[in-house]
């Protein structure tokens, strides 16, 4: 197992390097630059050129690449080209908000999705099943940002239950900041719920038709015991896979959600970096996102192996 983990971590290095190189090149191909963005269209061309020089943008491309890569290996993301703030500090500030939102959304997705999937599977082809399937289909069809705005209008503006915008202060008031988590979590988590529900239903239906489940019933076990102790564990395997997929996906989806709800997470930082052509911030955030995906995939594989010893062997 240890060798497996080490091998996977070593494989992550070329993946992250490829991501970084791709982002480095793509942002420099897109027209517009940080100096123009920082100074606005009012600034003269001389002022823009002077700022480009100070930003190091006139250095040869390979020098810029090696400089940033070298800093990255030392754990230094550099400074924002726009406001000169250390990216490390900005990431340290924003990362907890994104992690908090992603974990809460995954938790909600599983907490609601698995039971709903089991319930619809147990009530196959009746009203409960049909209702569950329609709701999950609608949920999969609705874009996250649209759903988020609807929730905001309903639960924050019309009925002032939760804050509409902001992330609260995670450091000074972690409990108080939880209320800022509700609407974004509902936005992302409910969409994941619909996918998990469909998969859980499908997995349960497959498992419920297996011989060993029939045997368990024949032994006289209560239906609850049959489902929970025998069927569910097998059905969990594909759910673990989809959870890992969704966790990685939700990190990406959190970009728009943080933007809409104005949560100061990595997603909002990424959007700002794109709009302002802040190359260092953009490169740093993309590398972090790539690292997240790699780690989540590894954890998913390890969990899969734990649940099914045949896989880990």
């Amino acid at each position: 197992m240890l060798r497996y983990i080490i091998r996977r971590l070593l494989l992550a290095i070329p993946i992250l390097l490829a991501v970084f190189t791709l982002v480095f090149l793509v942002v420099r191909v897109i027209p517009g630059d940080p100096a123009t963005s920082a100074l606005g269209d009012y600034a003269s061309k001389e002022a823009v050129e002077a700022l480009r020089e100070r930003m190091g943008l006139n250095e040869p491309l390979h020098i810029q690449y090696l400089q940033f890569l070298g800093n990255l290996l030392r754990g230094d993301f550099g400074v924002s080209l726009i406001n000169g703030q250390p990216i490390n500090e900005q990431v340290a500030y924003a990362l907890p908000y994104t992690i908090q939102l992603t974990l809460a959304s995954v938790f909600l997705g599983i907490l609601l999705g698995v039971p709903l999937g089991v319930i619809t599977a147990m009530n196959r082809n009746n009203a409960i099943d049909y209702l569950g399937r329609i709701i999950s289909l609608v949920g999969l069809s609705v874009p996250a940002f649209y759903f988020g705005i609807l929730l905001m209008l309903l639960l924050a503006v019309k009925i002032n239950v939760f804050p509409a915008v902001g992330g609260g202060d995670l450091r000074e008031d972690p409990i108080g900041s939880l209320k800022f988590l509700v609407l974004p979590t509902l936005t992302l988590g409910l969409i994941m719920t619909t996918s998990v529900t469909r998969l859980a239903r499908s997995a349960m239906l497959n498992v419920l038709s297996e011989d060993y489940v029939r045997t368990a019933r024949a032994k006289g076990l209560a239906e609850r015991a049959v489902v929970v102790r025998h069927a569910l564990r097998s059905a969990l395997l594909p759910i673990v896979s989809i959870t890992g997929f969704w966790a990685a996906s939700l990190i990406g989806d959190s970009v728009l959600t943080e933007y809409i709800f104005s949560r100061p997470g990595l997603g909002k930082m990424l959007v700002g970096a794109i709009l302002q052509r802040d190359y260092t911030a953009l490169q740093s955030v993309m590398v972090i996102y790539a690292a997240f995906v790699v780690i989540i995939n590894l954890l998913t594989d390890l969990t899969y192996g734990f649940l099914d010893p045949r896989i880990s062997n």
Binding site: S44, K45, E46, I82, G84, M152, A164, S262
Partner: protein, 588 residues
């Protein structure tokens, strides 16, 4: 056999009961005491007084000393009154006022810094300018060698904000000179070009002398030393202590609000300056929040989490918000002017008659309807006459027959005479921003009516700005505010400013070179009326040559809760936000 859990529960109950009983306290036992009493008895028919000793059962009263604490009714702790403003921006760019070129940055530095002169709050007209850090309007004199000298006397007792280890100190001429020299340094300011040929001296602690190699009229000079762009005065000791880079996120000025904190991607918090020379602010601070999505800002305002928001420059949005209970919408200047520029080096736009035909094909009112009055208003010259001296009014343009009132039949005839009876095709790029995209889409429809096929490709805003400066577009829509006519004309119509090939490439998209002399003559004209006439003549020439077709200006749109009173009327603000001053009040 009871389970461990049950035993634990029982023991806990017993313990609690025992504690309760102990807490109640026992009643003291009565005790027998011997007392001497005097009684009256009947002895052999006579009443006699007898002293006897008796045993009496007495319950000792335990005196409990009670501490009676009298407290005054606690005064409720008042929450600080912080005005929360939602701004259309992703994050902070710079709080160094000499690099604060973006809209979001201008609003912040306006609250933190002062200038020698200032535009009145809510009124950005030149005629309304007044002294700020200066006690009075400056004295002007000419030297024997033709240089112009402006002398300012500073107010005394103006204090710089405290910052970190640096205590508050009095602003003097040394700070003013330092600040203006910083503005004039291209390494330390985005506005250095505005201060070329100026010498700054501190005559004494409260006197500043500015010598100009090239004399300027007050119309052109006052804005350079006003509370705008390079004219903001920074506190030299703070800049030296912090360094230029740190100063961008830790500004120190003399304004009504002081920098308190910055949370990345989230907000900048300013606190009231109790020592502000115009009086302590009536609110305790400002939270300036970065919220680039208008839906978020709207929701924040309607939910009561924000007090002021930057809105959408669109009459539909204004109408929608105005019907909301407790919300006011303000539409005010300055107006950013939208102008259509024709690249005169591109066939067939190199033919003046073709350009005039396109002008006659376009209807200003159709473009105006995209945004609606009063959010937008038509303009008839590159310089907007409503906000700046030197612009042509509608009446003046019509009198000269240079308003190019829409006439599509004439346009088609002119195109046919120019050799394009079937029209022609052009391809352009536009920004995805609403202001640009709508204009191009409408232009596409209008020009199609005279046979001109315009292909419009949408790119993001930064990309558009980069590409049009590489001379990509044959027809360029540009929306901009500039502080005076000289800047408008120089940057859009002087040959030095021609994109790519100019001596100092800027935004002369037309590649126009016919009015250089007029621009330069107006710049050095010190008589205000003569200067205005020169500017007007220059613009008349651009209209006669039809190198650009002025459309309209788009004003600023902000919404606020009823409880916000800015403390001044809103006509126009150069900082592109309503203006929050020491007189701004807030009720919740």
């Amino acid at each position: 056999m009871p389970s461990k859990r049950t035993a634990f529960l029982f023991s806990s109950i017993v313990l609690v009961l025992a504690l309760v009983l102990a807490a109640c306290g026992a009643t003291p036992e009565p005790e027998v005491v011997v007392q001497t009493v005097v009684v009256e008895k009947e002895v052999e028919g006579e009443t006699v007084t007898v002293v006897e000793t008796v045993e009496v059962e007495v319950t000792t009263q335990v005196e409990v000393e009670k501490e009676v604490v009298i407290t005054a009714t606690p005064e409720p702790v008042e929450e600080p009154l912080i005005l929360r403003l939602g701004q259309n921006a992703a994050d902070l760019s710079s709080l160094d006022p000499h690099f604060a070129t973006t809209t979001e940055a201008r609003g912040l530095v306006d609250m933190i810094f002062n200038g020698l002169m200032r535009y009145q709050p809510g009124n950005g007209a030149f005629e309304a300018m007044e002294p700020d850090l200066a006690e009075d309007f400056p004295e002007m004199e000419m030297t024997d060698d033709g240089m112009q000298v402006w002398t300012f006397t500073l107010r005394q007792g103006v204090m710089c904000h405290p910052s970190g280890n640096l205590a508050s100190y009095e602003l003097t001429s040394e700070d003013v000179v330092y600040s203006l020299e910083k503005s004039a340094n291209p390494e330390r300011s985005a506005y250095a070009g505005e201060y070329t040929g100026m010498i700054f001296e501190a005559v004494d602690d409260y006197t500043v002398r500015i010598t100009l190699e090239q004399p300027l009229s007050p119309v052109l000079f006052y804005p350079k030393v006003a509370n705008y762009s390079g004219g903001f005065i920074v506190c030299s000791q703070a800049v030296e202590a912090l360094g230029d880079d740190k100063f961008k996120t830790y500004p120190v000025g003399t304004g009504p609000f002081m920098f308190d904190s910055y949370r990345p991607q989230e907000r900048v918090t300013l606190m009231a300056n109790p020592d502000y020379f115009r009086g302590a602010p009536q609110i305790d601070g400002v939270e300036y929040r970065y919220m680039a999505d208008v839906s978020s800002r709207e929701a924040g305002l309607l939910a009561g989490e924000l007090d002021v928001i930057n809105g959408q420059p669109d009459i539909a949005w204004v109408d929608k918000m105005q019907v909301e209970s407790g919300i006011q919408v303000d539409v005010f200047g300055v107006g950013e002017v939208a102008t259509v520029h024709f690249n005169t080096t591109v066939t067939p736009l190199d033919d003046p008659d073709v350009r005039k035909a396109l002008a006659y094909a376009m209807d200003r009112d159709e473009f105006l309807a995209l945004f609606g009055e009063p959010v937008a208003e038509n303009v008839y010259s590159p310089v907007p006459s409503k906000f700046l001296a030197g612009g042509l009014t509608q009446e003046e343009a019509e009198a000269l027959d240079l308003d190019y009132a829409v006439d599509r039949d004439l346009a088609q005839q002119m195109l046919a005479d120019a050799g394009y009876p079937d029209g022609f095709a052009l391809e352009v790029i536009t920004s995805e921003m609403t202001g640009y995209r709508r204009i191009y889409e409408n232009m596409q429809a209008q020009l199609a009516e005279v046979g001109v096929d315009l292909t419009v490709n949408v790119v993001d805003h930064s990309t558009m700005h980069a590409q049009i400066r590489e001379d990509v577009n044959p027809i360029i829509v540009y929306i901009a505010w500039r502080p005076n006519a000289d800047v408008y004309l120089t940057r859009f119509y002087h040959s030095d400013s021609i994109v790519v090939t100019g001596a100092s490439p800027d935004t002369n998209f037309s590649h126009y070179a016919a009015i250089d002399d007029m621009i330069e003559a107006a710049r050095v004209e010190t008589d205000a009326d003569a200067q205005i006439e020169l500017w007007k003549e220059a613009q008349i020439q651009t209209l006669e040559d039809m190198v650009s077709y002025p459309l309209h200006f788009q004003q600023q749109v902000y919404a606020r809760s009823d409880g916000v009173d800015y403390g001044h009327e809103l006509v126009s603000v150069l900082a592109l936000y309503p203006g929050i001053t020491e007189n701004t009040t807030l009720e919740r």
